[in-house]
Assembly symmetry: C2
Homo-oligomer: 616 residues x 2
């Protein structure tokens, strides 16, 4: 698996680099930009062992290293003369970075750092490509000077010989074993024992250790988390895409598969004519659209912020951090469970490998726990919301993505219910702000009663999680609303296209409304008639979107090779392709399997003989 | 895979039969009863290719065949002289049995049936063991006499030669290909072309075709669905068990893994001390307990009903059918999504095969779509609820499991909120009845406006689904409440044990309350203070159950071989076992992988050479 994936990843890198040189020499819009594209993912369905090299190793060298360090390491990495990874997570620690056990002790005498993974649980564990693909890594460790902890730092560490690829002395490296998916990624472990690197192997753009051992702190501590922020943005994009792929497959299958007449005596309709099937498939299509737009916005914000950070302007970091957290969580959760729902929407056939939904699930699901475990990120967002609520109480302005919180906080009660999109969006936001207020009351009461802040966060964890979740909904729905209703491009859209977009908005808002009905009814009084009216609108908009479902998913523009699914092929020859795939199974090469003579025949014969004997 | 699983399944069958003969000759409590036990599942983690033979083929011969047919086929099957499967599902049709395309035409002249799968989509597809393991099957087809459809019938069909195992002429049989899991089950396809079987190969206990072609109808049409009812009961039991296994693994991991101090400066606690982790794990433990009890009740009811049906007393069939449907749906959905949540509760390591959570998921998930696709079953239950609501309106009594519906229907408003268990249970039931009433209004309005019943069911599908889901909650919670509070065994429990049970009841009721808060607040006015009080009780009961979590999961009594999980081992040596498992990976056999010389080295060297050249 790893061998094939290394081979294909290298082929992809070569191809994209040559295209880059041909069409835009010196740019980066083809290589490395497209290495994370769905076409490459489709080429290496078991996962790309070079992706951490390209996405994090080279990026961290550029963003965290000094210009000299970039010249020394970064240029060779960008040029793929060396292959590296980002070795942060350990066997015993992941999301809680301050708990990392790997350590780097500065030796003033030799001007070196001594790197160690002191315990089994301190072994680096998970980095992609670390197993056997890389010869370098960025090793993240607790920095110690004279045995005094200075916080996390990053070190460029060579782990294998460049000529022979043999692990260097003091290095214990290998593959971490089989997984639910992504078995080509070559995720590895790494132990270091008294492994020395020169002082200038510590990445020093933002913090420094001087030769005499003096430590110069980073001006902004969050900057060391910045490589993770990038990956969170990427998760938001990729996982929205995985959901879009699954939605495409399920939609196409749903217009080929037929079942159960809707009118007695009529032929069986395409299953997408059934209301319950529409409810399983169409909201997922819309969710994918909504998230792809949110992720694209986030990516733009990242790009702007990254440029600013490079110029040491850190002002937009907090907002980017908050949005990257919440969108990473929302897209990974909703894609994971959404893909499984879509798999089920294909009935039993969704379980066949030929449908590819299991593999798409296996690619999407780990994002819930990597690059910041989701429920920990929810708590981080919850804490940010608590800080912002204090700002609201103090009458201060909030960052743009949280401006709705100030607005809602000023309302004494929810305005007259109209059921309009504005009303629905406001209801979601109002419920969010209500849940922030409740969480703050719990949290604050705990702090007042002399609990520490961390303890108060823990014991208010469920309410903080709820507030964070609703903030995610509010942001995403608000963003979608703006793009449909208030976009400057709106007048360029045909009325027909605008109508489809508005139907998607209608569906998204009503769906979120019902999904969070309990949260909303806690804070807003809505009559049973008003709720029933929304139920009718939900049924109506599903019916309206039904004829557009195939076109919308076609517009995601995944070709058959990317979807790699007998159920979701463009030509709709589902049964032919399932059969074709089945016939390729090794067991179908022989009419009688070897296990017949070996096991089955002796078993059945013996049973028959015994039966005869007992009759005698 | 299939070869190993056939070998192990045969070994298991032999062992259990010899144990049966030794300890209880003539009984069935060891063999075949334990062939579906978790110990056997653990022995054949890729799935048992004999399970449909044992669970459905032999059972259907006994229950659907005449005594003479049992003597001819059933005895040999019970004795494993022949191996069969239950060939019902087709490539193009699953849950909607009336749509099956396979046909059996009666030939009066020869007193034979002519069996055909006329199109690609009519091929049988999915039956376990059909691929290469079986030599017989029960073939389910539309019965035609003089080209007139008579409904479904079952036929005993030999598909392979007993001596050579070669497929017989007219038989096209094979394996359907790779799946997300259960790859040892040897699920197969089967096409028949003008394949003739004697008249007495049709199973005739309940319906008959006489030699002259006269058709004698079954007195109760549902009786042909009876083999599926059995399997639904089994799904309820097995899927509750899968959830219990995953909960055990996640609980054990959560008391070994440590993360993030709760109090500043304190050491990192076991992650199960974190409230959010408690909320991820403990409700799943309780759900598993609750469902295991419900599934055991259902199994008793099945056993009683099966005996009655054998005596041609069909009176309890409707209630059994309704309960088997709703519990099959509830346990399969909640175990599938619950197992994935528990996997995520183990962080990144949950993704490792060594943790076994991925495989448990892959075993649980297909139950959502097999043996009656879940959302179709929801609609069936919804229809049953509509019928029963008509009964309520007509002032008639309902079956015992729906008695609460009549009760709630008589209440003019919800009584004073007390927050007691009785109050919480009643709130869930009241919301259920409210949603039944709403669904009935929609459904009935559609029927009144001249829609057909099937069309009305379709267009009221979302509301029927909601009503069915809440009926499942009401039944399960009511059953648990009875067993904890009103059980005749209650006085035999120690006060400490009773307290743990009551904590589980408290958690279950509050958890369902919050999960369906929106549904409840539509029908019952509850103040914000009352809701907040429940939030506090939720946090409190999680804390109270925390010290019992390990003991409760230990009491599920899964040994390490059954869990087969480095994360969930009894001794808690998580990291050692993960490492041990990793070292067994083939890539770790060599220090330098073959792909280095083949791919990596040429790539890196070429890049370095090009870089040198471009500098010159």
């Amino acid at each position: 698996m790893a061998s094939m994936s290394v081979k294909h990843a290298i082929a992809a890198a070569k191809k994209l680099r040559s295209l880059q040189e041909r069409f835009n020499p010196g740019g980066s819009d083809i290589y490395p930009a497209l290495m994370g594209d769905e076409a490459i993912t489709a080429l290496i369905p078991s996962g790309n062992p070079l992706s951490v090299h390209i996405l994090m190793f080279t990026r961290a060298l550029r963003e965290q290293g000094t210009d000299e360090q970039y010249e020394k390491f970064g240029r060779r990495a960008d040029n793929n003369e060396i292959i590296g990874t980002f070795a942060q997570t350990e066997l015993g620690h992941g999301t809680y970075l301050r708990g990392l056990e790997a350590r780097a002790d500065y030796d003033r005498g030799t001007e070196e750092f001594v790197l160690n993974t002191p315990k089994l649980s301190s072994y680096k564990w998970w980095p992609g490509g670390l197993g056997q693909t890389c010869n370098y890594c960025i090793f993240v460790a607790q920095l110690y000077i004279d045995n005094e902890a200075k916080g996390m730092a990053m070190f460029v560490v060579q782990i294998r010989d460049e000529e022979t690829h043999m692990p260097l002395p003091g290095v214990h490296v290998g593959e971490i074993g089989k997984k639910m998916g992504l078995n080509g990624v070559n995720n590895g472990f790494l132990g270091l024992k008294d492994y020395r690197v020169p002082r200038l192997n510590m990445l020093m753009r933002h913090q420094q250790v001087l030769p005499d051992g003096r430590f110069v702190k980073s001006p902004v501590s969050q900057v060391s988390y910045f490589p993770m922020v990038f990956v969170r943005c990427m998760v938001a994009r990729q996982n929205s895409n995985y959901l879009a792929q699954a939605a495409t497959i399920a939609t196409r299958y749903s217009v080929i598969r037929r079942q159960s007449p809707i009118e007695e005596g009529q032929p069986e309709p395409k299953i997408l004519e059934h209301l319950t099937q529409q409810m399983k498939v169409i909201p997922e299509i819309v969710t994918a659209v909504v998230y792809r737009l949110a992720a694209a916005n986030l990516q733009n914000m990242y790009n702007e912020t990254a440029e600013a950070v490079y110029r040491k302007d850190f002002s937009r970091l907090p907002e980017l951090h908050a949005l990257a957290c919440i969108l990473k969580v929302a897209t990974s959760y909703d894609s994971t469970y959404g893909i499984e729902r879509l798999r089920q929407a294909c009935g039993g056939h969704g379980y066949l490998t030929a449908g590819n939904l299991g593999n798409i699930f296996a690619m999407a699901a780990p994002a819930c726990t990597y690059e910041g475990e989701n429920s920990v990120l929810y708590l981080q967002v919850g804490k940010i919301l608590m800080k912002n609520w204090s700002q609201v109480l103090a009458g201060r302005e909030l960052m743009p993505s949280m401006a709705y919180i100030s607005e809602c906080s000023k309302m004494t009660s929810f305005p007259q219910w109209t059921g309009s999109w504005e009303c629905l969006l406001k209801a979601i936001q109002y419920a969010c702000v209500g849940s922030i207020r409740l969480a703050f009351q719990s949290y604050n009461a705990r702090v007042q009663s002399a609990q520490s802040q961390t303890a108060a966060v823990n014991y208010s964890g469920l309410e903080l999680t709820k507030a964070a979740e609703l903030h995610g909904r509010s942001y995403v729905a608000g963003n979608f609303y703006q793009q449909i209703v208030n976009s400057p491009n709106k007048h360029q859209r045909s009325p027909q296209f605008q109508k489809v977009l508005e139907n998607m908005l209608e569906l998204h808002l009503i769906q979120i409304f019902f999904r969070h009905l309990g949260d909303i009814l806690r804070f807003i009084r809505i009559t049973e008639d008003e709720i029933s009216a929304l139920q009718r609108r939900l049924e109506e908009v599903l019916k309206e979107l039904r004829p557009d479902a195939v076109a919308i998913t076609d517009a995601f523009d995944f070709n058959d090779k990317i979807l790699s699914s007998a159920l979701g092929c463009y030509d709709g020859n589902v049964y032919e392709r399932l059969f074709e795939a089945a016939l390729k199974h090794p067991l179908n090469r022989k009419s009688v399997p070897d296990f017949f003579e070996a096991h089955l025949k002796p078993f059945m014969k013996e049973n028959a003989d015994n039966a005869k004997k007992s009759k005698l």
